[in-house]
């Protein structure tokens, strides 16, 4: 596909400006404030102090990462660009904080690929994320990978927007 030049350009730009806004189609939305901001419940039980997820748990990882547990790839690509690198750095920080925790990195593809090739491509993507985490100092023995190819999309549409969301790797820590 013809998007590598774009990715490359972004990689160069991004390297000097890590904080640049994400070029990736799936925008990282702030989490829904949800009921935490609405403590005015009619039930007047003794309100427990709002507890976050247990430190070091997968729930804690997901809450801390706020979407940055997932990185996205261009069509048929598996390179880690600047937005991916920024997300992986946050992942690495969390993993450094909890050195006994292990993680699995899932690699996924969009539906517009043949099945076997997509399993291989998903494996490439998961390993690209893993190798980046290792380069940041995470012990490789803490990280495993699994490719799902095109078998587990998160977006079910058949359009570029959905496909962009599905070309991803997801880091999941093991409780």
């Amino acid at each position: 596909m013809l998007r590598s030049s774009r990715t490359f350009a972004l990689l160069l730009i991004g390297a000097s400006a890590l904080a640049a806004c994400s070029p990736k189609p799936p925008k990282m939305l702030p989490p829904d404030p949800g009921p935490a901001a609405a403590p005015t419940r009619s039930t007047t039980e003794t309100q427990p102090t709002v507890q976050g997820p247990a430190p070091g748990s997968q729930a804690d990882f997901a809450a801390t990462l706020m979407g940055r547990d997932t990185i996205y790839f261009d069509t048929d690509k598996y390179n880690v660009d600047s937005a991916d690198a920024a997300a992986l750095q946050v992942q690495a920080q969390w993993l450094m904080k909890y050195p006994s925790k292990r993680a699995t990195i899932e690699g996924h593809c969009d539906e517009r690929g043949t099945r076997d090739y997509n399993i291989a491509l998903g494996d490439r993507r998961a390993n690209a994320a893993k190798n980046y985490l290792v380069s940041l100092g995470i012990d490789a023995s803490r990280l495993t990978t699994v490719s799902y190819g095109k078998e587990r999309p998160v977006a079910t549409g058949s359009n570029e927007e959905a496909w962009a969301k599905n070309r991803r790797s997801v880091t999941i820590t093991i409780d």
Binding site: E111, T114, A120, S147, R152
Partner: protein, 453 residues
Amino acid sequence: MKYRWSLLFSLLAAPALAQQLAPAPAPTAAASEEAIDVTDDAAWQDLGIAIPTFPTNADVPTQTSAGSTAAVGRALAQVITADLQNNGLFKPTGPASLPVPTIAQVTAPDFHTWQAKQADMLVHGFVRDNGDGKLTIGCYLYDVALGQQLLKNAWVVSPAEWRRAAHKCSDMVYSRLSGESPFFDSRIAYIAETGPKDHRMKRLAIMDSDGANHKFITTGQALALTPRHSPDYKRIVYLSYLNGNPRIYIYDTELGTQKLVTQSKNPTFAPRWSPDGKWILYSMAVGGNTDVYRVPASGGESQRLTDSPGIDVGGSYSPDGSKIVFESDRSGSQQVYVMNADGSDQKRISFFGGRAATPEWSPRSDQIAFTYIAGDFHIAVMSPAGGGMRELTKGWQDEAPTWSPNGRIVQFFRTEKHSGHTGLWQVDLTGKNERRLPTPVDASDPAWGPVLP
């Protein structure tokens, strides 16, 4: 399920059929490299074939799913009609609108009646209960205009396998009239799909070539993909996410047990049999780099066949086992390559723009079917040298071709845009005769096995 076929080209059970089966006509000359060997079906389209009920000498109950011997005789004619109808080559007329011949007429047809009905060809047959639980089923092909018998045969079948006699009869008729090798008496392994698009349940399933005798093999707890029958149908190799990681398993169809093909910490996938059933070709990803390997089906050391830094994946043996066609993105995009069976002499053969994936070598050895990706996904064929590329289908996403045992029909699966619904389809080499196969639920990853032993 038992695949032991008590098929006897039995002269004992059917004295009337003492004549030897005539040797099948040689297939039409193999296509030269670049010539397109497409069956000219124009002449056949008008060939009317009458297939009345097969009478029985005595209507008695049977253990078959069809009922009594008379009911079996009618069902046989229906199965044969459907077989011959569904491939766009003939104009068969089934038993519903035809008179039932007497048992004497099976060997001495009333040709005047059939001439009046504008039938060019006539299929007769009979059903007889052997008294030991088995049935003898006869099949006769007549040329109505000439008033001549062209072929006859008979088979002794167990009640569970009565439909195979119909497929054998269809094969006899098809081969005699088309000059092609038979293919109806064969089975298909595939993946049955249910559930939402983002969490499909995928189960290994098998069925006869016409969709009958459908059976789910796995429960769906583990994602199952890409099955292939062994050449003797005793085993099915497939990919399962059992225990969370993609690995290749061999399922034993007689024992109902399965085992890992190789012990590996790495994902193994895209399994295929060698034509002699001795090797399993597979792909393994090591640290993001996928290559093609082979391993003895009985177990043992794997041998790495490719070593490019790109993704080398899939593969399919030539019918003589000497070469392997596979896919690689070493050039920057998925393309089709051919190599010797030991991995030497790797050469790209697809040079026509777009991407080329999932190559499958025809059992006739003269064509390679593949998924052609240029925007949408279409099924296409080319010669083993990469020439004569032709697209056979026009779907949004048609993927993963598999050949009929005679190399005349390509089966594949079609995914619908948005809904993600999948179904099995097949198309002949003209590209004109396309049809969907009936499956109880959505279906993908078809693999057509050889003619049953």
